[in-house]
Symmetry: D2
């Protein structure tokens, strides 16, 4: 079961090494400043637990209701998203005080928390874990734009191993249960509304690649003209790649005829035996076409993930303060990396499951109003807290977005005669 | 079986009443001038049949390869789409001559057409029928922007009848065959690549509304604040509707406190007993939420359509020169309007079916490179040639687009416990 | 004295060779369709003379007040400028009828025109001559975007002569009268409000180049890296040239390593002994810096022009139906080309003269509301009617605009010690 | 004579009360972060004095050459201006260290500074003073966008006095010397290149308003529909004011039917007896038209300013740490406020004087490449260091810009018959 204080402390721990100035940075409208994440996750507990349920609670600062609401129309007006980087005030110190204040009040509330409020607590902690990941993805993007910024972690030696042939694992398909079973109210069985209800889907026989696509393979794609051949691309992806002059994944750059990348280790040559990361759906899809394969559907992915032994998740590369952000390719054989390492683009649009009912109240806005124009990603990444991930978890981003820790797993239909 | 000359003559017939100047109009990048449609459909036969297969064929004008290519990268460079309205030259007369020239050469080729080319002929004719519809939708949009333009057809009397209660029809769901069976090469069994392969889908029990949503109902939605309530809308839809200041369907406008619409009849008060038309996916989805329902999936729609008697399609309101463009609501009971009347937005993204294989050659670009960010519409409209429609037909547009003849049919999941 | 019928016929004569479709073209918001120019100039006479002053006058079409108002707020709302190309209706035939109708009514009015209205008639005719020039500049721009459009005139042989050294003519400067003397109400003494009042300006001693800069010289500028050297450019000009990727004047393009241009003769190699045309202020200014010179001020230009003999203007290259659009360099010595050939960019901003008073009524909007962000051009071009030009005439365009017939004359300050 | 250490300390003193986070803010591309100003002014001395002239000088950080170059093409590539707010690194502490390091090295250099370098030192100090003013204008804009930011100074009591009639002062005009006399190399006679050479201008007789337009008068303009009447505005100004929905000067807002403003005192009701501030050229020009007057030309302004007694400047409201930013209207009679209080928009475009020669080397870029599309402002403001101002000083901004301390003085031509 999730521990309130542990989750909260983990969030702060992630900002170790960042200055108050770093934590102001907002490098694009899609991203938010670290300071804003610290405040917004706190606002969530204040707004949905303390204000309605702790008798006599006094808000820390009445302006924060406006400043740190992300997108909840039901809560009221809010500060424009693209201007979050302009909030020098409150300063970081005040936001830290805000966290401390809310944490102390939460201790009071938690001491006598009625069972009926446990689901809100749970969602608040999962929400905070989502923002832990965003703190990392957003600061990575911001620092990458500073031509002389160094990385955040030491440039630890990377084990270099050679992957010879990773192959595919086959599945029979059939009528399978997809989605999370009905929530029983305990936080051990937590799932977002969009993962429910569990329902039947018919999968045709399919195969999943055992490993994610590597940087080595991606370099070959580049050498083979992958970014110059329109026939490999979706039409909108091609237009965007031309307009933005994509030649490689985000954070890659060429110097003296060699490919480098910006990572939390700083700027360094691309490491061939790492999985390719920070690619858009458009690139993932183009690569699959190039490779004579396709991306998996989310139902295929979930069928495969559900069939894994429990230890598969336990062995996944997830967020920890020390080992984070350096995903590596496995040396074992068989289906690998389903949990953690990188988010895997699927071929499925983020749409409601049959019989979907949104959460009630303001939290109805949590997922359901974003069910258009986005594709599902599965599995979690090295920047994802392990406690957040389960085989039914549906992450979603627009096909053009690249700043998440997103990678590529190939799939194939085994038999296209019905 | 489709007749080449009939299809071609129908295209020209649709431009009756349009001047050479009207046929220059391009009112937005999504739309094309009528003259361009006349030339592009001709270019299709010239490029994919006459040039490769008619011995000694001389192209009508070598520049047309560039000017009238729509989006086929495999054919080469092409004129920028947003500048199609700047092609005063070739003039309409020259384009008419081009059509005549190609038609005569096609007569030669058709006299001895080998079986292996029949599929290309068939796709060319279906392609032309798609553009017949676009001629209508595009000129409607263009003329609507001329504040004093009159309509194209006489303002025939509209039968005014009152629809009391149209109700729903229930379906059991289950494992159903979706998609078009394998193409046998005859044009009687034509389908686009994206409709194949036939495959199994599991539908949960569902119900479909017997009729499309009417203008009368839509007016109630407006009166109930449908365009002012963010909780009814997808987030991106709400942002767009605010930005574009949507208050009603496209072509509606308010004068002296009454709603009018622009149609092929000109400008006139909204006719309450017609189905609501020219709504985006965002509006259709918001209306469904308002009505406590949802949009159908394409598999649900196809299951229902496949179950209809053959006469259902025969009775549909499709494109004919005289009766076109004035869709009306039926007075009968039971499931109505599945074929024709209006395109029906579904809740399904336009993505490849399991085992999908694109057509070969340049025609691979026909559908598959558009499989992102678009939603499927089903059934055809009063601007669609009947010969083009079958229960497996998948039309697709972006969620923001409104200038097609698109309407709304509601659906419900009957049992959301699996 | 200007003849109403002659001016009007000249306007129509300029559209000889254009189809109704050509006359629909609007290739950018700065330009208007030829048909719109035909209608707008007619609207001017209808609005400012016939409606207020011809008893019993019935407007030709009440919608035209809205459709063909250019920018007169005092006349009321108007059709959005960027949508002028969407007016397929009224058709060209109806616009021709409109012209004929207004011309007949004008005959009636002119028969008894009171003296007090003569200034309005005069301004209407000068206004029409300004639009004659715009018909040419706008259609040239539109046709240039059609990759296969031919020219409008025959490719007459161009006399090729070699200009060896054209030199400068010096002026003493001093306190000079600038601007047009008070209007005496006759149309022989016509001037726009912005040319008045006549006032004193002190010119330091200066010199003007005897001839315009030629294409030959401009090619040398290109070869010397003129478009790649930021130190030659104004900062905003450099930014724009980079963004728009300017490498040469508008309408020039490179093929097989040779420079071509689009002109009314069609597409042909750049003719070295023609004056360079279709350059922006930014380019003109950069060239002057490259040449160690500067552009003239408008007061310098006017001092020089006033000193010319009357025949200088009579010999100028102005608009005539036959010889138009092919400006050539003179072979004579001495100060040449001040009148006609090309508009000459000056170093002066378009601002009011001391004591300026705008025209009264709606015509106050004619010039004065544009007195910001524009630079003055002087002298007229081969597309300008001769009757429109006088030494005090102030034309004005934004520094980025290139589609007018604009060229470059250099100047120098002779003595910069005061 | 300017003292290096005093000027440098004044710059730092201005940031008292700002946090490191505040000093990161960049609220629009026109503005820069305070931290950037601190670094850039230091870079100026390092680049133009220490590197070329102090033997053995080691740069503080080699990346700063790129990061803190503003716009000098001759110095090389530079960080994109709109991304200055993304430079969390170097942190404020490092920038302070940079200043200290450069100041110490400058002490070394100054000890033996050859006469030939004194002009560069002087321009560096004047440059720094320009940025002192920008620190204030830029941070004011940034903080105004934080809905809950407080001011920077205490809300000192404002003397409320009533101005009854301020009237005009008349000038004869005539041939006058305008511009700064030749530079003699001493910093007591400093002027920018754009103020030279001195030259003759003929002014017609004119009158200048004795005082700036007040907030009281501006409120009357608002009440009289000044922001709703297109006939008062330049065409481009009107379009912009509509698009941006201007209803009042920048930093004004309406609450409970009263006008408030954001100032360094925080948010408070508009003070009627202060001069109106933060208006664009478009607004200044529209007000003048409304008032039946016009803006002065820069030659008129300079003629008047040159005629003032020396104490006029000494009494001006200029930047001082304590009294800054609260301009007040004078109670005296006669011509007031020419020096300090607010920058005064003139009717003159920023163009080179006759015989203008840019400064040599990289400093040629200081002024001359901006001589287009900008209007001249004269006199200095309450945010301008007094040492920076002289009667020949030419400030320049685009007509749309409002974030400088810019106000309005009216003028009239006394006799428009020459």
């Amino acid at each position: 079961m999730l521990n309130y204080r542990s989750v909260r402390e983990q969030t702060l721990a992630l900002t170790k090494g960042l200055s108050a100035e770093d934590m102001m940075l907002q490098s694009m409208a899609d991203a938010s400043p670290s300071k804003w994440h610290l405040a917004h996750t706190t606002w969530f507990f204040e707004t949905f637990l303390l204000q309605p349920h702790l008798p006599g609670y006094q808000v820390f600062n009445p302006h924060f209701r406006y400043l740190f609401n992300s997108y909840y129309d039901a809560v009221g007006e809010r500060h424009p998203r693209p201007q979050r980087g302009l909030l020098s005030r409150p300063g970081l110190n005040e936001v830290i005080d805000y966290r401390r204040y809310v944490d102390e009040k939460m201790d009071e509330l938690l001491a006598t928390l009625p069972t009926s409020l446990k689901p809100v607590l749970t969602i608040g902690l999962h929400h905070e874990m989502q923002h832990q990941e965003l703190i990392l993805t957003d600061i990575k993007h911001a620092l990458s734009l500073n031509p002389y910024a160094e990385g955040l972690t030491s440039a630890s030696a990377v084990k270099r191993h050679s992957v010879t042939d990773h192959g595919y694992t086959e599945f029979d398909g059939g009528l399978v249960d997809i989605g999370h079973a009905a929530d029983n109210g305990s936080d051990d069985n937590f799932a977002y509304d969009c993962e429910r209800p569990q329902h039947q889907v018919y999968n045709a026989p399919f195969a999943l690649a055992n490993q994610l696509v590597s940087n080595r393979q991606w370099l070959q794609f580049i050498k083979d003209g992958g970014y110059q051949r329109p026939e490999l691309w979706l039409s909108e992806g091609w237009a965007l790649s031309q307009q933005e002059q994509w030649q490689a994944p985000l954070y890659w750059f060429k110097k003296d005829n060699q490919w480098y990348q910006f990572s939390f280790r700083g700027r360094h040559p691309v490491i061939l035996d790492e999985p390719v990361c920070h690619v858009s759906y458009y690139e993932a899809d183009a690569y699959a076409r190039y490779a004579g394969a396709r991306l998996p559907t989310e139902a295929e992915w979930e069928q495969a993930a559900t069939a894994q032994p429990a230890k598969a998740k336990a062995q996944g590369q997830f967020l920890t303060v020390d080992t984070a952000h350096h995903p590596a390719m496995p040396v074992q054989s068989g289906l690998q990396q389903l949990f953690g390492t990188l988010w895997e683009w699927t071929h499925s649009a983020f749409l409601p499951y049959p019989g979907f009912t949104p959460a009630q109240g303001a939290l109805a806005e949590y997922n359901s109003k974003f069910m258009i124009n986005q594709m599902v990603l599965r599995g979690g990444s090295c920047a994802t807290p392990a406690a957040q991930i389960r085989s039914s978890y549906r992450n979603f981003f627009h096909p053009y977005q690249r700043w998440q820790f997103s990678g590529v797993r190939l799939a194939m239909t085994l038999d296209n005669e019905v």
